[in-house]
């Protein structure tokens, strides 16, 4: 067998991410025409900062998709649960120290995801049903905690979120998350997680502790979604109980755009992060057209159409690529 070059191996292993990067490139070209100010330091910074909550949530559901739990519907409401509890419960209790707030946000994310993982693995209920239940329950609880948008975030967090420069605290959070992910992919845990996702039975008979790996994967997902809730709170500096469903849909769109296999085992944040940024850019791009009151409908419509188009392309391009490789090989 011919040894592939480093670059060749990288491109063939990352073929799944073509659609997301391609879409991102197209959107950036459109923006370059419609809104050149995006290509200033603060423009890019603003885009990244506004994408951070979604990016973190998408990273979270990437982990659960990789381990074979499919799409996590509960991610959006879970992020919002962190948001409303931070501005309502913690703020009302005068708890505002960074340590307590961060511990709460990450801890509650991990806890709720681990509870779901235990229901999935021990009671063996279909993941989609479990996460749907969590979606519904959390959406309801969020409205009980905070009936309408309002409340106040701790001042330090609001300041964190208000930065729009390219080195704002939020972009640093983003860079930290990406570096953390990179380190995570180099661990044996990540290898095990992918192996469980791609063939749970093989992993089980080979002695991989499948249940534990799945629970840990959901825990890591909770950590990232909790961080997403924190970033979201900083960004809007208040609470908004109504955005859970929107975030779930946007996150799943980004996940699928990013080429992550919903059957598990394949893909990574190399696809889902550009996917998340592309999803953010779609709505940004559309605001450059004056759509007036139609805007929100058009955004949803474009999500749907772009998703289908991107998927068609992501099916066609890798197969063309493979054919080319075969032709080369023979």
């Amino acid at each position: 067998m011919k040894q592939q070059s480093r670059f060749g191996r990288f491109t063939s292993k990352s073929a799944y991410a073509f659609a997301a990067w391609g879409l991102l490139a197209v959107l950036l070209i459109v923006c370059a025409v419609r809104a050149p100010y995006l290509f200033t330091a603060s423009g890019i910074g603003g885009l990244l900062v506004s994408a951070v909550p979604l990016v973190l949530v998408v990273m979270g559901i990437t982990v659960t998709a990789l381990v074979g739990s499919g799409v996590d519907l509960s991610a959006g409401p879970l992020m919002i649960f962190v948001n409303v509890t931070l501005v309502k419960v913690l703020f009302d209790q005068q708890i505002g120290s960074p340590v307590a707030v961060i511990a709460w946000a990450l801890g509650i994310g991990v806890l709720i995801q681990i509870i779901q993982a235990i229901v999935i693995t021990v009671a063996r209920i279909e993941p989609v049903i479990v996460t749907l239940s969590a979606f519904l329950a959390l959406s309801g609880i969020n409205l009980v905690i905070l009936a309408q948008p309002g409340g106040q975030a701790p001042r330090w967090l609001a300041e964190w979120g208000s930065g729009r420069s390219i080195l704002a605290p939020m972009t640093i959070v983003l860079i930290t998350a990406i570096l953390g992910w990179w380190a995570f992919t180099r661990t044996q845990l990540f290898t095990n997680l992918r192996l469980v996702g791609s063939n749970q039975r093989t992993a089980f008979v080979s002695g991989v502790p499948v249940t534990m790996i799945r629970v840990v994967a959901h825990g890591i997902s909770g950590l990232l979604i909790g961080a997403g809730g924190l970033a979201y709170t900083g960004q809007i500096a208040s609470g908004n109980p109504t955005q859970g469903g929107t975030y779930t849909l946007a996150a799943i769109t980004a996940l699928v755009l990013g080429g992550i296999s919903l059957a598990g085992g394949r893909g990574g944040v190399l696809g889902s992060i550009p996917g998340a940024i592309a999803v953010t850019l779609i709505s940004f791009t559309l605001t450059t057209f004056s759509l007036g009151s139609l805007a929100s409908f058009v955004v949803q419509l474009s999500y749907g159409l772009i998703l289908v188009a991107a998927l068609l392309i992501s099916v066609i391009i890798p197969s063309l690529w493979r054919k080319r490789q075969e032709v080369k090989a023979s």
Partner: protein, 534 residues
Amino acid sequence: MVNEDLNLDSAPRAMVAENHETAVSIQDVKKSFGETQALRGASFSARAGEIHAIVGENGSGKSTLAKIMSGIVLPDEGSVDIHGHHVSSPAEALKTGVATVFQEVLVAEGASISDNVFIGSQGVWRSRMSRSEQHRRATDVLEHLMGHSVDASALVETLSLADRQWVTIARALVRSPRVVIFDESTAALDLSGAARLYAQMERLRSEGVCVVIVTHRIAELTTFADSATVLRDGIDVGILRGSEITESRLIELMTGVKERSGLAPQSRRLSKGATADIVLQAAGLVATQGARPSDFVLHSGEIVGFAGLDGQGQAEFLQTLTGVRQAINGEVTAVARTGAAHPISNLAEAITANVSYISGDRRKEGIFPNLSIFENFGMPLYRHHRRAGVIDRTAISARFDAMSKTLKLRAGAPSNPITSLSGGNQQKVLIGRELAQDPQVVALNDPARGVDISTKRELYAQLEHLALEGAGIIYLSTEIDELIGLCDRVAVFRDGALLGWVTGDNITSDRVLAGMFGHLEADFDVEKALVEQQ
């Protein structure tokens, strides 16, 4: 019948090194899966530094025994002791030093070859070996096993099936195991590959590892197994050691000496034999890639058996004959009673020509599990029994009653789900479904898998009845016993092609097995032994 065989255990054991400790000890293990009893009190023990084979026909429980040793299946009763440990999960098996290569080629698609070799053995959090080291070792081990170089960082699905099997073998070997179980591991390998695997087994033995091989290919183990435990119907019926391991002794134990006459009671039909009318014929048929072309003729009133080792192409051949599978080359023609010839190249043509195919894999290819017994039976009849476009349930109901009477169906209300029936009764419904369409040719692909003996006999009687009425029947079975007494002729398959025929009184376990297995004995003249055309 069992008692007679038991004293074989007291035969001299001088052939085996005495000072090796017992590695595996299993006592009176029982295990049921639903209604099927896979193991009914089997015992097994093997020592370190020996190659110990577990032999038995399909369904004798040998794979279940291997799974119990690997911690994948937990026994209902009985004790399992491996090097003093009680193994109750694959992770524990791993710790105890048990490595298993399964019959199914279990790889994690989407992961690299190297990850697939080291899956499970590297701990949960931190790997015991750096990735580059893993990569290097995987490349080394696989090159040695496969006989050609390989890029261990490539995805595992870029490999051929045989090479994926080598990946699972390498997975067992890199664990430095104390007990290695090979469950039918040569199935996906060619002859030279099998030879390389035997060399590995002998190396392991010399290192004091207990090597357990599970197989029904008996010829391959007469040469190098130190001991062989024979299983029949979920019970161990004897242990052979050293030079006692011969094909004839193994076959005797596997099939049971007293049962040589086969499962089907001697038929009244056989003397009448087949008629001269051809109902189905194939010319130059190639069903599997790379097989020799084969000719085949089925007469009216004839029951033909298909035999062969698993994966020798008999099932594919049967499916091609019945239009279920596309032929690679050659033609199949059904001849109607009127003399008209119908070519068969797909399922629709087979249905018009009244050629039925009944699968033994009920769950996958037979039943509609969420529908009722009645609906499962009536499905293909809806086309025929219609009044002004509305399904005539009364007519179908009458046919259902007739079917359940002739097939002695043991079922509750017809509206109960089909899954409420036992496997044998589900099979009856499926057979009834085909028979209700008045087939001219009935091809059965191992229909009696997991069916109890009395139901089997009812099935045989039904097939004979059908043959007497002029249908041609092809019966593929993985148990040779089934074919004896039932079939007029048995076609033996090897390497995807029809190798030869065994006819009439010559249909005995020994002869059919000889045809299936003989290829590993150098001086065995297969063609001469088998070509006994009528």
